[in-house]
């Protein structure tokens, strides 16, 4: 089995990218303005594609290079740019104060979730010989923070980006072993993601037309 040791340059770079990705997830959680929220998500994806590139270089894997480039192009540039265009120009939305909790509460909850992620996936609990084991709790924490962003944000587009943060967390976890993660599966996950974003955007614009606002707070028709 090909592996990275935690002390090799690539291992250190992967760990470092994981930390930066976690910090950017916190930045998303704590940003009140919509354009910053989207920008932090874009930055997170760029760091993720860098991590994929590092793994691709270390494993000499062409498929991983393809994934790194696709991540950069679609998640790092395509989605943030089109989300900004949709939000700022079509929906004329400057800021999203629609949080269901205060900012500080959600940040504290985020800290608690990160601690929880370390509790359940601390490296000692994982099988021995697992490369870059430090990345596993980091990616778990990013998944939980993305879920938290989906819960506390009221706007549908913000919830969508929350889901994309979750997806980034999973992808970060997959990279650590990705040289042996089958390419067809990775590519399928990527396709699902793109199709998911497209179909969600169709619903968001449909809702915007119907309700004059696509905030999930307005979605009150179906209860019980």
């Amino acid at each position: 089995m090909q592996s990275l040791s935690a002390t090799s340059a690539a291992g250190v770079l992967l760990d470092l990218s994981g930390v930066v990705i976690l910090l950017l997830a916190f930045a998303c959680l704590g940003s009140k303005l919509f354009n910053r929220y989207v920008a932090y998500y874009g930055a997170q994806s760029v760091v993720l594609s860098f991590a994929a590139g590092v793994a691709a270089y270390a494993f000499h894997s062409i498929e991983l290079w393809i994934l790194a480039v696709a991540t950069l192009a679609i998640k790092g540039i395509g989605i943030p740019v089109s989300a900004r265009r949709l939000l700022m120009q079509r929906l004329d939305l400057k800021r999203d104060s629609a949080l269901s909790t205060g900012l500080s509460t959600s940040l504290i909850a985020g800290g608690a979730l990160t601690a929880f992620a370390y509790l359940v996936t601390r490296p000692q609990l994982l099988p021995h010989g697992l490369v870059a084991a430090a990345v596993v709790p980091l990616s778990t924490a990013v998944i939980l923070l993305g879920g938290l962003a989906m819960v506390v944000r009221r706007h549908t587009v913000a919830q969508l980006i929350g889901w994309l943060i979750v997806e980034n967390g999973v992808f970060l976890g997959a990279i650590t072993l990705v040289a042996t993660f089958p390419f067809i599966v990775e590519a399928g996950i990527f396709l699902d993601l793109v199709a998911g974003v497209l179909i969600m955007l169709v619903f968001v614009s449909g809702l915007t037309r119907r309700l004059a606002s696509a905030s999930a707070a307005e979605l009150r028709e179906l209860q019980g």
Binding site: L125, T156, V170, F181, V185, I189, A195, E221
Partner: protein
């Protein structure tokens, strides 16, 4: 044989192709039905010829078919056939009434075929990563069906469905990842790293902590698709807002596909971790779902929501049966899956006919069905009693098996609790449906359901009756083989 497997998956795409090429409602519907018939025939054929032999494999483990996949293929293909025949009648009536445009009907058939094909494909793969990919793709295809009518409420339901399910399934992907981690001590060839048969046969060497997390995440993740409480919140909305044949597909095919994924994880977890942990997880989520489903069934409102909460309850029962385990528990769970699928398909198709006739989905506004439309009313009444588990229908037999399994494998508290909840469910559900069926019909009349709509109802009810009186030897052998595959 590989060709047969591909044909099973490709069958429903006939409707997609026809609709994409611009066929009208009726021809597209008949194409979809013919395709579903091809799928069902292939599934039966695979069953008859391959049952006693080794599992089929192909394409480096991506294509994999054993008895368990065969059983679920049969269920999903049968439901697809019932729902496509139901679609022909329902959609053309809606289009004639001007409630759906020709474009919406085309969209419906495109995504209906895609949805069915993706679910069937998910049942034929042995690679757990690909299983995720296909289940997530089927979510996206069915979201288009939920939002088809483009009212504010159906868009809201579609949004809720797609965002909650996508998140849930992503959690299941994290579970798959942890399963992958737990196997990192094994030196497997790259192709086998996510292959279920390989992981299952080497379950003894998996790392237990990581596997425990993997199982829990998979139950929570795929449980979102199954509709296990508390992840069920999308389910009543999506089922109520989708066109009725699509609701039938959601309830009777999609939920089962999710349960299939859970069973795959359960088999690995059970082999490594023993009885305790998987049982605790499944009983907790199972009983919670039954309680939530039953509580919401007491409220009288939209009858499609009532059927949806009954699905939550039934998925809970199946989870509980899986938790009880043993031959009886697993046998009961699989039999319940088949019975519930047929019964719920019949009920949702009936609900389509009712809403055509009465132009409402509120149970309180529907009375006198039996007098106004005897076929629909009769099917609703018989279907309700079938789904509630009265003899002589199949659900009675499977629920009895599950209760027996409970007494055999765990403390008597659990099966007794199950029985009590089933009794409450019976009263809550029948109270609403009996009131719909009896009484005086309203004076003004809406659209009559086309005659073709009665065909799937009759076929489904006869199947339920047969399954209640007699389990065919072939089915019995198949279910026993399934149990052998996963234990």
């Amino acid at each position: 044989m590989i060709l047969l497997m591909i044909l099973t998956v490709a069958g429903p795409l006939a409707g997609t192709v026809a609709a994409a090429c611009g066929a009208r409602a009726r021809p597209a519907g008949w194409m979809a039905s013919a395709g579903a018939l091809v799928s069902l025939t292939c599934a039966v054929w695979l069953l008859v010829t391959e049952l006693h032999r080794v599992p089929l494999r192909g394409w480096g483990g991506y294509l994999y078919l054993d008895s368990l996949s065969c059983f679920f293929l049969l269920t999903v293909a049968a439901v697809t056939l019932l729902a496509s025949v139901g679609s022909v009648a329902y959609l053309s009536a809606e289009q004639d009434a001007g409630r759906l445009s020709a474009f919406q009907v085309r969209i419906y058939y495109v995504f209906f075929g895609l949805f069915a094909a993706l679910m069937l494909a998910a049942l034929e793969t042995g690679n757990l990563g690909l299983l995720f990919v296909l289940i997530e793709a089927s979510t996206l295809a069915s979201a288009a069906l939920v939002g088809l009518e483009a009212r504010a409420s159906s868009l809201e339901a579609a949004w809720k469905y797609v965002i909650i399910s996508s998140f849930g399934v992503t959690i299941a992907l994290a579970g798959t990842l942890f399963l992958y981690y737990s196997a990192s001590g094994l030196h497997l060839a790259a192709d086998y790293r996510l292959a279920w048969p390989y992981l299952f046969s080497h379950a003894g060497a998996l790392a237990p902590q990581s596997l425990r997390l993997a199982f829990l995440l998979a139950v929570v993740g795929y449980g979102t698709k199954v509709g296990l409480a508390p992840m069920h919140t999308w389910l009543p909305d999506a089922h109520a807002e989708a066109p009725s044949p699509a609701s039938a597909m959601l309830s009777a095919a999609l939920l089962n596909t999710g349960m299939y994924a859970i069973i795959r994880f359960l088999a690995i977890a059970h082999a490594r971790l023993g009885d305790g942990f998987p049982r605790a997880v499944l009983l907790t989520f199972g009983f919670l779902s039954i309680v939530i489903g039953v509580l919401f069934m007491i409220r009288r409102g939209n009858f499609k929501r009532l059927f949806a909460y009954s699905s939550v309850e039934h998925m809970g029962i199946i989870a509980v049966a899986l938790g009880f385990g043993g031959l009886l528990g697993l046998y009961g769970a699989l039999l319940q899956t088949l019975n519930h699928a047929i019964a719920k398909a019949v009920l949702f198709l009936t609900s389509g006919d009712v809403s055509l006739r009465y132009r409402t989905r509120e149970a309180a506004e529907v009375t006198g069905l039996l007098a106004a439309v005897p076929v629909t009313g009769g099917a609703l009444l018989l279907g309700s009693f079938a789904v509630l588990g009265s003899p002589p229908f199949g659900v009675f037999l499977s629920e009895l098996t599950i209760v027996r399994a409970g007494f055999a494998t765990s403390s008597p508290v659990f099966p007794l609790l199950l029985l009590a909840l089933l009794a409450v469910a019976f009263v809550a559900f029948a109270r609403t449906t009996v009131a719909m069926v009896t009484g005086r019909p309203p004076d003004e009349s809406g659209l009559a359901a086309p005659r073709a709509a009665a065909v799937p109802l009759g076929v489904g009810l006869v199947a339920l009756l047969v399954l209640g009186l007699w389990i065919p030897a072939g089915l019995d052998t198949l279910i026993r083989h399934c149990v052998a595959v996963i234990s």
